[in-house]
Symmetry: C2
Subunit: 310 residues, 2 copies
Amino acid sequence: MKRCVAVIETAWEPDADTHLAMLEAALREARTRGAELALLPELVFLPYFCQNPSREPFAWAEPLEGPSLERLARWAKTFGLVIVTTIFERRTAGLYHNTAVVLETDGTLAGIYRKMHIPDDPGYFEKYYFTPGDLGFVPIETSVGRLGVLVCWDQWFPEAARLMALAGAHLLLYPTAIGWNPADPQSTREQELDAWLTVQRAHAIANGCPVVTANRCGFEADSSGRTPGIQFWGHGFLSGPMGEYLIAPEHTQNRIAVAEVDDLAMERTRQAWPFLRDRRIEAYQNLLTRARESPPGRIGPNFPKVPDSR
Amino acid sequence: MKRCVAVIETAWEPDADTHLAMLEAALREARTRGAELALLPELVFLPYFCQNPSREPFAWAEPLEGPSLERLARWAKTFGLVIVTTIFERRTAGLYHNTAVVLETDGTLAGIYRKMHIPDDPGYFEKYYFTPGDLGFVPIETSVGRLGVLVCWDQWFPEAARLMALAGAHLLLYPTAIGWNPADPQSTREQELDAWLTVQRAHAIANGCPVVTANRCGFEADSSGRTPGIQFWGHGFLSGPMGEYLIAPEHTQNRIAVAEVDDLAMERTRQAWPFLRDRRIEAYQNLLTRARESPPGRIGPNFPKVPDSR
């Protein structure tokens, strides 16, 4: 099966009508260019409010089946597209999630994924806003295949990608919101961006599974004025199963890029590099631990004294 | 703690005296240039005999405390270097391993690691020769820190790197033997090399832990004549904890490259990007499974119906 994927990267536009019109136009264009699946950035309907912890943004949270989902469902049906992004989900009073939603081409909700790994550092106070997801790592079945939807910070965790791949994902998707601190020097920016691209392409390679990412772009000020804001760095991409770019990363604002992935490439890559065949699952138990505090003592020349602490 | 690391990449030289003299000279030079730890390629004392399955190479296997270890111990003591490579270990009749050995600066054996993930594909018939390791993923304590020694094929498995990092490794080390099929086009070669560099640098990034790799280089014929042989691609490197090159990859034959890694960089990187803080260990159980054969059914719009199958 082949699927044609669109990466849509938009800058936050404070005027709601303009913002929505821009997104709608982007989806229309993606469809015109052949896309069957469109990935939008994280929290696409909101400014990146996590730059500082404050009560006001909770007013923007909405139940899963709220106006954002309704809008996405209408677009999905209108354009015949599977659409993926995240919303600020109000599950109940005091319980909020950063929730990925997957809309089917008929406007139904194919499934959701609640962001499992939650970051928290200056400029990204997400632990304040979002309860860690409780749905685990379960791909979502759609008309364009089984989608391993993950969100932003998840992209740094090989465990998340692996779990989705083991569950049969045909594609890993990362709606995301990451950018530079404008006060950082160019060398730091390049290193951060390169690390971000590298770790995600490595998920494609280690799992023989394509990866697609759509990031926010444009500058967003910190409303508290405590930090210099975030220059979201765009650079979304589509990688094939060997880490090769099918859509190369770019820092173009309001970008629509379209390319095709083919399950056959995944099948052939996994046959050539059969990592899934060789995993030592009986020796991975410690992946379920936080850390192993007692490293083995230094051993002398009288082998065997190596402790078997798999 | 800082440690000065040497990557030594040598081509196989059929004349034993020449080969050993070359290795000894390389270690001496590494020490002269300040190295405290030297990483040699996989199976450095042997041709890459796994190109075809045949009984003859078993004659080269030796007990752990055999002539290879004795030679490495002498060099380690003479040069005051911690030395890491792998040997073809004969554990008993019919039981052989590809075993990494770590020699301390006083010539004692600091520890061993038996290659856990064993490849097997045309040109690399390692499952024929090597029993998968049974010592798990345990770093080895040395005078230059806790070494997370892994071997070649292990480099494609994020699980292996993570387990070593969780056990407190200060550095991940990969003695390795990987190369191009000379019959493959340039584009395939570039893609393979890039994937190999990317997946290993991603271990540094995902774990905030430096990674060093030493690969074989030079051409080795397939003695059976069935394949066009292997052009080992060199390109060993040292990566800092953000995936930045401290020793950049190069395809120079018989290369000695030296650079320093600093635990402070690791500490700071992990503070800036605290992935270990945020792992969802309670949701990783399925990492211990081979695959999840029953993907959840496609769900409709009546949320919540998402199965919780973490």
